[in-house]
Amino acid sequence: GGGAPPGGGGAGAPPPRRGALGGFGFDTVYDLLFVRPFAALARATRNDPVDRATEGTAGAARMLHSILSATQSGRLRWYSATIAAGVILILAIALLT
């Protein structure tokens, strides 16, 4: 929040009185130094940026799901090719180590 501070009262009064009426501008200073930055920060973090990390893990799981489920195409030649590739990989590991 923080509306306009009640400064600038007594425009027609002599200088010392004018300053006293306006609280010597303290409200304006506080408003600029504390109220506005805090309100802006609070508004920016309203939805908890830390929670984005949590949401990120959920998003990653969803992405993995869509990638892996795309391989479940029902096409036999892809399945057999994957099995063949796996056999070659295992044999390669067995022979080369």
């Binding site: 805090f38 609070a42 508004r43 973090t45 309203r46 908890d48 830390v50 929670d51 990390a53 949590t54």
Partner: protein
């Protein structure tokens, strides 16, 4: 035996309430649950009255073998800390049943079953001194709470329930790994296979092994507490849960995390905890500020209260890891007073929701004229939450800041800013809802009716507790001081100091364990005696 009944009562009562609701209707489930929990309150009061007689470690203990081949037993023990928290569990449980007397229309039998089983698990966690039993009861709390949120929650309940479940399960897995690790390390060092708490205190693990085990326990409890940055499940779970669920979550379930830190992390790994304390205190101070800022920015009333819990639990983390008497005393006070004050705020949010069917504060305003008694109560709990002197929360936060200052003035200074934040969000809540003008015709949710006697009783009991503890915190402070042998601040028997190589001597604020009951003399912070009246 009284300890066993403290768990069996809600455990069996839950089954009977569910079965009885099917046979005799919803009213039976409500009256029966209330009666069971009232009996629990009486039992915990009985236990409380037997406390403090001698210098024994446990006020009461009970144990039978369960799986002897693996050293697993059904063992329950209560010291001052357990008794305070068990009493809080039953008291808030009873109030939450009364507070949601009229608001549960869907499956009331199953609702009360879940509620009682959560309380059975929680009371058990506070009493179990066998780590397998502890873990079993720790998990027992989670499932019924999942149902409570997922079935009786608000519009976004399934998301919140699953999030809650994943967070607690993941942290539960860490806890299980840490418990098993501790068991095997202990078995390797001593040749004895046991899960008994007091035996495991002499586990003999050192170096990185002990550090990893400590981190396992710490993380599991920090998620439950919740400590920044593990807090993100809390805002969703609290705001989507039904009123009773929110009260139990904030008032009791979070306390199991703090209890775990005091009961397990500090006594099992004193040196590691001391080494880790600066990190934990930074997490605590960050949580205090971050929670307060989040709370200030919320427009959802229950979300505001939930975020304020993050802030208050940051104080708990600070108090625990200040590693001195004042910090620990303040922590226990904070656990009780946060339960009462946040419980009161959630009751109020529930009352407003029942009347207006919204939690959006932008649709509220100027309710003081329509519901002055509710407004007065709201003002009271807002003041309690911001730590007004004279109420329990002030004593708690003062002691925590006092203990923290002795160790780290910087952390204390940062956390003290949290008090300012608490004033901001508490007053904003009160202003938005009860003061000012009503919002525009289209956006307004209407005017609430004032509170009825049943609701007034619930709020008055919570308020009376806060005033009592604010003016006379001794009962809680005395009782919890009995429990400090576990952390070696005061009543640590000499035999233990000899067998456990790492005592708190290495802590930042050294507090040497002594034989004599009472307070260590050469530590300026430990010399604090509990204030008898408001400081």
């Amino acid at each position: 035996m009284i300890l066993l009944w403290l768990i069996l009562l809600p455990f069996l009562g839950g089954i009977l309430a569910w079965a009885g609701a099917a046979l005799f209707g919803a009213a039976f489930a409500r009256w029966f649950s209330a009666a069971v929990l009232a009996a629990g309150v009486v039992l915990s009061a009985l236990l409380w009255s037997t406390a403090g007689s001698g210098g024994e470690r446990w006020i009461a203990a009970w144990s039978v073998p369960w799986i002897p081949s693996h050293g697993i037993a059904l063992s329950l023990s209560a010291d001052g800390l357990s008794v305070v928290l068990v009493a809080l569990t039953y008291g808030l449980g009873l109030l939450s049943v009364v507070a949601s007397w009229k608001s549960i229309e869907r499956a009331p039998g199953f609702f009360h079953f879940n509620l009682l089983w959560i309380l059975a698990g929680t009371a058990g966690v506070f009493l179990a001194t066998d780590l397998v039993l502890f873990f079993f009861l720790w998990e027992l709390m989670v499932l019924p709470m999942f149902f409570l949120i997922a079935v009786w929650g608000h519009e976004n309940r399934v998301y919140a329930a699953i999030k809650f479940f994943i967070f607690t399960q993941a942290s539960g897995l860490l806890l299980l790994a840490a418990i098993l690790g501790l068991h095997f390390v202990h078995a390797a060092n001593t040749g004895e296979r046991t899960f008994d708490y007091e035996a495991l205190l002499r586990h003999g693990a050192t170096g990185t092994t002990a550090m990893w085990l400590m981190l396992g326990f710490f993380t599991a409890f920090a998620v439950k507490l919740p400590a920044f940055p593990f807090h993100t499940w809390l805002a969703d779970a609290h705001s989507e849960a039904p009123t009773a669920g929110s009260i139990i979550l904030a008032g009791v379930l979070l306390k199991t995390g703090a209890y775990g830190l005091i009961r397990f992390v500090l006594p099992l790994f004193p040196a590691e905890a001391a080494a880790f304390a600066p990190v934990a205190m930074a997490m605590g101070a960050a949580g205090v500020l971050y929670g307060a800022m989040l709370a200030f920015a919320q427009t959802d009333l229950k979300r505001l209260i939930a975020c304020s819990s993050v802030s208050h639990m940051g104080f708990v983390l600070l108090g625990v890891f200040a590693l001195n008497e004042a910090g620990l005393q303040g922590t226990v006070m904070q656990l009780v007073c946060h339960g009462l004050s946040t419980g009161g705020l959630f009751v109020l949010a529930g009352l407003l929701y029942e009347r207006l069917h919204t939690r959006d504060m932008r649709a509220m305003g100027g309710f003081w004229t329509a519901a002055p008694r509710m407004g007065a109560m709201a003002l009271f709990f807002a003041m309690a939450s911001l730590g007004l002197p004279g109420l329990g929360n002030f004593v708690a936060e003062f002691l925590i800041l006092f203990g923290t200052f002795a160790v780290s003035p910087a952390a204390a200074a940062v956390a003290a800013l949290g008090l300012l934040g608490a004033a901001l969000y508490s007053l904003r809540f009160f202003q938005d809802v009860f003061q000012g003008g009503a919002p525009d015709e289209g956006a307004s949710a209407g005017k609430p009716a004032d509170i009825v006697p049943r609701e007034a009783v619930v709020l008055a009991v919570l308020a009376a507790g806060l005033v009592f503890l604010g003016l006379y915190p001794r009962p809680v402070l005395n009782l919890s001081a009995d429990a400090h042998w576990t952390v070696g601040f005061s009543r640590c028997p000499a035999g233990d100091a000899a067998t456990t190589p790492q005592t708190t001597a290495e802590a930042d604020a050294p507090a040497k364990p002594t034989d004599s009951p009472g307070i260590v003399a050469d530590n300026p912070v430990a010399r604090i005696t509990p204030p008898e009246t408001t400081p």
